[in-house]
């Protein structure tokens, strides 16, 4: 029974209290880049989640075999293979999604969430716990992406779930391709800036402020950009091992 409860904790921590995007501030690049619509955000979130779960399982299963020295390259190979597999499957079955995610699909390889979880969790815990952790983190990532996507799509394009047909057609549902909230000839125009780069930063900033407010009301610290501590390479970083911070190191070198 205790086992079950802790598994549930591993899952739920990724959703809110340790949400990878809003609390740990990991994987910011895809968060900003692909959230121009909910469908893109969902596609990215699910792809990353699949990779995360698979790589967590594989790394956790191999954690006793992989020598510590070649840990990082081994993880990268494992992650990259899963990413490529997901990429090929998306290309074959959801070509529309492949087109809209573009280069960010292969770039899941360098998504810090995945390498970060491998380092922080999967190489210390069992297979099942790692899988659950990956699932929780993946769902948390997807939720955060979808929030961003919803806000940006509604304000920026005046639609919601546009392009949903490409995702739904796999499940055999056709005929639903999103709702247009602001028509082409209506009195107001959508604020295109929201689906452009500045709108991405802005929306993320506002969402982060909300997340901080929520955390504060629960007496938890604000999300801080980890700099070194959240960095997936932290363990490898010679400086951190010496108990230094990369920003401080530079100061020292000067003086």
């Amino acid at each position: 029974m205790a086992e079950k409860k802790s598994l549930r904790k591993e899952f739920t921590k990724g959703l809110i209290s340790e949400n990878p995007t809003m609390r740990l501030v990991l994987g910011t690049c895809p968060t900003l880049a692909v959230t121009t619509s909910i469908v893109n955000a969902l596609g990215m979130g699910i792809s990353a989640m699949i990779v995360l779960v698979c790589s967590n399982i594989a790394i956790s299963a191999l954690r006793k075999i992989i020598p510590d020295k070649v840990r990082i390259p081994a993880y990268i190979v494992i992650i990259a293979s899963f990413v490529t597999i997901v990429q090929m499957i998306v290309k074959a079955f959801i070509p529309a999604l492949d087109k809209s995610l573009g280069v960010f699909l292969p770039l899941i390889v360098v998504n810090c969430i995945i390498l970060g979880r491998a380092e922080a969790f999967a190489n210390k815990n069992g297979v099942i716990a790692s899988a659950v952790d990956g699932l929780g983190m993946g769902v948390g990532f997807t939720i955060a992406l979808c929030c961003m996507g919803a806000i940006r799509e509604i304000i920026g394009a005046g639609t919601i779930f546009a392009g949903a047909e490409s995702l739904l057609s796999i499940a055999g549902i056709t005929g639903f391709d999103g709702i247009t909230l602001i028509g082409e000839n209506s009195a107001i125009n959508p604020m295109t800036i929201f689906i452009l780069a500045p709108g991405g930063f802005f929306t993320f900033g506002i969402l982060m402020a909300c997340a901080n407010k929520l955390a504060e009301s629960k007496g938890k610290p604000k999300a801080e950009l980890g700099g070194c501590s959240a960095c997936p390479m932290a363990k490898n970083c010679a400086l951190l091992n010496k108990g230094e911070n990369c920003e401080e190191k530079k100061e020292e070198a000067k003086s």
Binding site: T84, P95, G156, E184, I195
Partner: protein
Amino acid sequence: MKKFKEYAAPTVVLLIICIVAAFLLAVTNNVTAPKIAQVNAENEAKSRQVVFADAVGFGEETTNADGVRLVPALDANGTTIGYVAITVEKGYGGDISVMTGVDLDGKVTGVSILSMSETAGLGANATKESFLQQFIGKISGMTVTKNAPAENEIKALTGATITTKAVTAAVEAAIEASGGENIG
């Protein structure tokens, strides 16, 4: 012996992981590659019918000297009534691949964007029906305008003049490629 363990063991393990990974990828590729090719072919076939609605069938595809892919559009009797050309132009965010139907008079019968990576909300609006409809019936020598379009003019997408110009250039290239030339 200690040295062996220190240097060889990590190398061997890494090598094995790489081999397994490469093998898995090769298997997946073998499964998905035909499917990807099939999806692409289906998409192109669907688009061909859209850009040349009058055609009943399509002939063999050829590639001309400029690298433009041409497919003759056929009527019920199997006579060529025009061409469908796939041309590629550089847009704002990379290559834009455009499929254009051109009849024997050099008039555009329809345009479809096969692939692009333009900015969402600006250049990506080029895939919208209202933009692509403009090209129907146009002939060679189109110009891009930001105002209300006159004869043989294309109204530029808001904030995406480069994309509009690229699509227009691709359509022009398609007209030239299929302009009455007897291919094959």
